[in-house]
């Protein structure tokens, strides 16, 4: 009655749904608080029907992140990009498992609680609900929080229209939006929320304005780094970010090359960027 064993026959969607259950089971066994976000964790009350997902996203209580990462690596997961190298926000690590595929472990959600990630998680956790994914009870944000997360996520897109945000704009009533806006205020994510809706200029004087402007519109990457630097108050953090700007992003280079970069490849990327900058400056002078 069993006609096949093993992963190659398992469609991606089944694998992703089952891996949500895997993460929840691991969390249950080890007293780790996590919320399943985006993808198959959110239903048709938030996303359009028949929307597909390609990975698993989980948001972990900040104090539990290190323990979860340890457990995952012990269980065969390999880190593809670390928190520090994944994005300008340093919010998620991407992991890969030969059976499960890709997963993004978030230590916070960009736009929600930049300065107090533990409090932000607490607020989302306090209104969580249980939803069966792969017939396994998983912790997910409330419907309102899920919708707010989708909007806030849309703020990180260069595209003028974000399909998931547009779907909410088409399908939800003014009262739903009022509820979302109220919750976005509670979650202290109004800048990202309004950015996604094309209203970033309402926050032109907000300290996070430049950061959200730089990730939602096409701008040179140094503007993002400038914005990140301006947000940090501690000298040690500013120095750490400066170091990141100068350093080669080895995780991204390894993914691009498909193997661990050699010393020569690292050197080439490092000096190549300066060559590119010189060429850009030269071209600007000519222009």
């Amino acid at each position: 009655m069993t006609n096949a064993l093993g992963q190659p026959d398992t469609p991606l969607e089944a694998r992703i749904r089952l891996s949500h259950a895997y993460f929840q089971n691991l969390a249950n066994k080890n007293s780790i608080d996590l919320l399943h976000i985006k993808g198959y964790a959110f239903g048709t009350d938030t996303y359009r029907e028949k929307r597909k997902s390609s990975d698993v996203d989980i948001l972990v209580r900040p104090a539990h992140v290190a323990r979860l990462m340890y457990l995952l690596q012990a269980d065969g997961w390999r880190i593809l990009t670390h928190f520090e190298t994944g994005s300008i926000f340093e919010h998620a690590a991407t992991l890969y498992h030969p059976s499960w595929g890709l997963a993004d472990v978030h230590r916070y959600f960009p736009g929600i609680g930049y300065f107090d990630r533990a409090l932000a998680f607490d607020k989302l956790w306090s209104t969580r609900r249980t939803k069966d994914i792969a017939h396994f009870p998983c912790d997910v944000p409330s419907v309102v929080d899920a919708r707010v997360i989708v909007v806030v996520h849309g703020a990180r897109s260069f595209a003028p229209k974000h399909p998931d945000v547009e779907h909410l704009q088409r399908s939800l009533k003014p009262a739903d939006w009022q509820q979302m806006r109220q919750r976005a205020e509670e979650l202290d994510c109004m800048v990202a929320f309004d950015t996604a809706l094309g209203n970033i200029e309402h926050h032109a004087n907000h300290p996070h304005y430049l950061l959200w402007k730089s990730v939602s519109t096409r701008m040179p990457s140094y503007v993002q780094w400038k914005a990140r630097l301006s947000l940090e108050e501690k000298l040690s953090e500013k120095l750490r970010i400066l170091h990141q700007i100068i350093s080669v992003n080895e995780d991204h280079l390894a993914m691009k090359l498909g193997h661990e970069p050699s010393a020569d490849e690292r050197r080439e990327l490092f000096f190549g960027r300066f060559a590119l900058l010189r060429a850009q400056r030269k071209s600007r002078r000519k222009g």
Binding site: M1, T2, G6, T10, P11, A14
Partner: protein, 109 residues
């Protein structure tokens, strides 16, 4: 107390079998863009990350065991759905239950 499967003795056994707590499953028919008529189920023992693909009869037994059931109840249900005699399906059902128990996908109480 959890039981181990006792081959043919199970037919007279009052042990009730059901999904083990650390299992999850997905119906292929529920998936986006999948064949709605598919009876395939992907079952996973979350502790080992192993995924088992169950076909029509295996899937049916898995569905029956979503609620605790004795081996004889499973035999009767499978026989009824496939319109076969209980004697015809019994050995196949018992073997399959034994296999699920061995893989720790179900428990018996």
């Amino acid at each position: 107390m959890e039981s181990t499967f006792k081959d043919d003795a199970a037919t007279a056994d009052a042990t009730r079998y059901s999904h083990a707590p650390s299992t999850a499953y997905v119906y292929e028919s529920e998936m986006v863009g999948a064949n709605a008529d598919s009876s395939t189920i992907f079952v996973c023992l979350l502790e080992t990350s192993e995924i088992l693909r169950l076909d029509a009869a295996g899937g049916l037994i898995w569905e029956i065991l979503a609620q605790p059931a004795t081996a004889e109840q499973v035999v009767a249900e499978v026989a009824s759905v496939f319109q076969e005699s209980e004697d015809t399906v019994r050995q196949g059902v018992l073997d399959f239950i034994a296999s699920l128990l061995h893989q720790k996908l179900i428990i018996g109480r």
